[in-house]
Amino acid sequence: MAGAIVEATGLSKRFGAVMAVDGLSFAVQPGEIFGLVGPDGAGKTTTMRMLAGVMRSDDGSITVDGIDVRAHPEQAKRHVSYMPQRFGLYEDLTVEENIRFYADLFEVPRRLWEERAAAMLTASNMTPFRKRLAGQLSGGMKQKLGLTCSLVHTPRVLLLDEPTTGVDPLSRREFWQILYSLRGEGVAMVISTAYLDEAERCDRLALLHDGRMVHCDTPAGLKAKMPGAMIEVAAAEPRRVRDAVQKLPGVAGVLLIGIGAHIHVDDAGRRLPEIAAALSAAGIATTEIGEVAPSIEDLFVALLENERNAA
């Protein structure tokens, strides 16, 4: 694709008998947030590690800014930053010493990284903790420090593997603010996430399943691909709702959510009265029932179901 900074073509990795990643191809533009979504074992982390150049792919090619990652990993690494679920901080070093160490490994001149680190620490409200040992930071602060460390050499590509797992909501919001401002600076980002509200914030999403890419589109485009419609039932006992409706004609699947259940149907206008009737026949009290726009989570469950039925 023209202008892409990251290009993966036919990427494959095998672990024993399992194809962890199977013929994956995609391209990411500068200033784009590209999301990798899929169940555990779909190959998200393996893909990330191959992009980062810490794992060799068995097949396929990756280029970063035109550099072949397989052939010249050390050169490509200068432009890339990789932030895993748990950023590897030295807990017996201070915040500043950690930043300095990573800056040194990228051979960033002292004046430059000091300036940059100061700005980033201010942006993430970490300045008062500069002299604190990394081991004494909260989980959210550790991730923000990790992000600072991985950005200190101004990478053009940022790889984030479930970076906000186990991080409090406030830190997550600050985290995303930093990502948005990076997008404004033209940094390309590949992010995998287990939080589907975060997936919705991405510019494009790739749905992975068993190492293969099932769909790849913008969140709106993906939603348009979902066949049928979504009916939301608010009820005190979601499990009973599921049991009562999942065998009805036209019901493709039921997803339990906090307030009740999401029922995936072929035609909302036709199935809504049928479901309401079935629920009242079963004696299940509902507070609300109606058609809703599908969430990303509904979307993936529905798309994966299609995939499974096709297989």
Partner: protein, 377 residues
């Protein structure tokens, strides 16, 4: 490249400076172990707990009893009134040696005949038993010789055998007093260095793997080989420091002489430390947690210690095990360190050991680096 290794070194020393307990662990236990080994590890046998039963109750039997009592080798632990007492004492492990002087002992001596003395030895610890039995024989033998000479003089050679003896002049080279401390102290230096360096290296690298920092710094332009150099160089220096401290302490405290060329020992130490670093690195490639590293180290280090010739003589081992000892770097280092300390020989005598150590270090390092690269996948 050198810049990145330097930055890694700076970080390592910063972490070390911060870890106060590590400094303590590096200096105090080795010195304590040196003291323990220096005093406890000895082949000599003193104060063997003994029961003596004198059934003869003669002047002669009392003289023999005194000879045992007054030697520093035996300590009379249990008074015995009957043969049963002696047997019981050995069975209960109250004594290791039971000596029975039978009735009629003096009678036979006076006639100039051989008079038997019974010794019961607890053979559980075969080494001590053998040495103790040797002392019993020595004391009884010299008592017999003295008595015979005396008897011959008193009876105008009518009784008592004329003494013919071969005089053996003994010269023990390098360690004239057969001080087993001189033998053990240099060995302890090598063993301690091996244990410290293998443990430090394996734990430090496994810790980086466990915490996730290893993967994190390998996505930087730092190459795996640069990581290995930056990570192991500090331990190499620590190894040299520890060998110097423990060796200096052993010389000052136990007065073990150093007769050789320090540079020869330095060369041998460097080669040996490289082999130890490679072993630690190899262990770190097969372990993902520090706990695994702990048990792996134990399984690797213990056989290396046993096969090294530290205390069990290699020529007495079965042939197959003797071949195995050739792969043990400690084996060669012990020869080098003992020879430089006690014999004062140089490279002209020690080149085979140096060559073997260099080959082992090179081989292990190659395998370790290759395995380390592979373990990153």
């Amino acid at each position: 490249m050198f810049g990145r290794i330097f930055h890694l070194l700076v970080k390592e020393f910063l972490q070390m400076k911060r870890d106060k307990s590590a400094r303590f662990r590096l200096l105090v236990p080795p010195v304590i172990q040196m003291l323990l080994f220096g005093y406890a590890a000895t082949f000599e046998v003193f104060n063997v707990s003994t029961a003596i039963l004198d059934l003869d109750r003669s002047q002669e039997s009392r003289a023999l009893t005194d000879a045992f009592v007054h030697s520093s080798r035996f300590r009379i632990a249990v008074p015995a009134a009957s043969e049963r007492d002696v047997r019981d004492a050995v069975e209960r492990s109250d004594v290791q040696v039971g000596i029975v002087i039978p009735a009629g002992f003096a009678e036979l001596l006076k006639k100039g005949r051989t008079s038997p003395v019974q010794a019961l030895v607890d053979g559980t610890n075969s080494n001590t038993a053998l040495i103790a039995l040797g002392y019993v024989g020595q004391i009884a033998g010299s008592f017999g010789q003295d008595y015979a000479r005396n008897l011959a003089e008193r009876t105008g050679r009518a009784l008592g055998r004329p003494m013919v003896s071969v005089g053996l002049e003994e010269r023990y080279w390098y360690n004239p007093n057969l001080n087993s401390r001189w033998f053990f102290v240099p060995g302890v230096i090598g063993t301690l260095a091996l244990i410290t360096i293998v443990n430090l290296t394996a734990f430090a690298i496994v810790r980086e793997r466990e915490v996730g920092t290893l993967e994190q710094i390998l996505v930087t332009p730092l190459r795996p080989v640069e990581f290995i150099i930056g990570k192991t160089l500090p331990f190499f220096l620590i190894g040299l420091l520890e060998v110097s401290i423990v060796a200096g302490f052993g010389m000052a405290w136990f007065h073990v002489p150093f007769r050789g060329n320090p540079l020869v020992l330095l060369l041998g130490t460097c080669l040996f430390l490289l082999a130890a670093l490679a072993i630690g690195l190899l262990i770190s490639t097969v372990c993902t947690t520090q706990q695994q590293a702990f048990s792996s180290n134990f399984f690797v280090l213990n056989p290396m210690f046993i096969l090294s010739g530290f205390s069990f003589p290699i020529p007495s081992m079965p042939q197959a095990l003797q071949w195995l000892t050739y792969a043990d770097p400690l084996r060669y280092y012990l020869v080098i360190i003992r020879a430089t300390f006690l014999k004062g020989v140089g490279l002209d005598a020690l080149w085979p050991q140096m060559l073997a150590l260099a080959a082992i270090a090179l081989g292990l390092l190659t395998v370790a680096v290759l395995r380390f690269r592979k373990s990153l996948d």
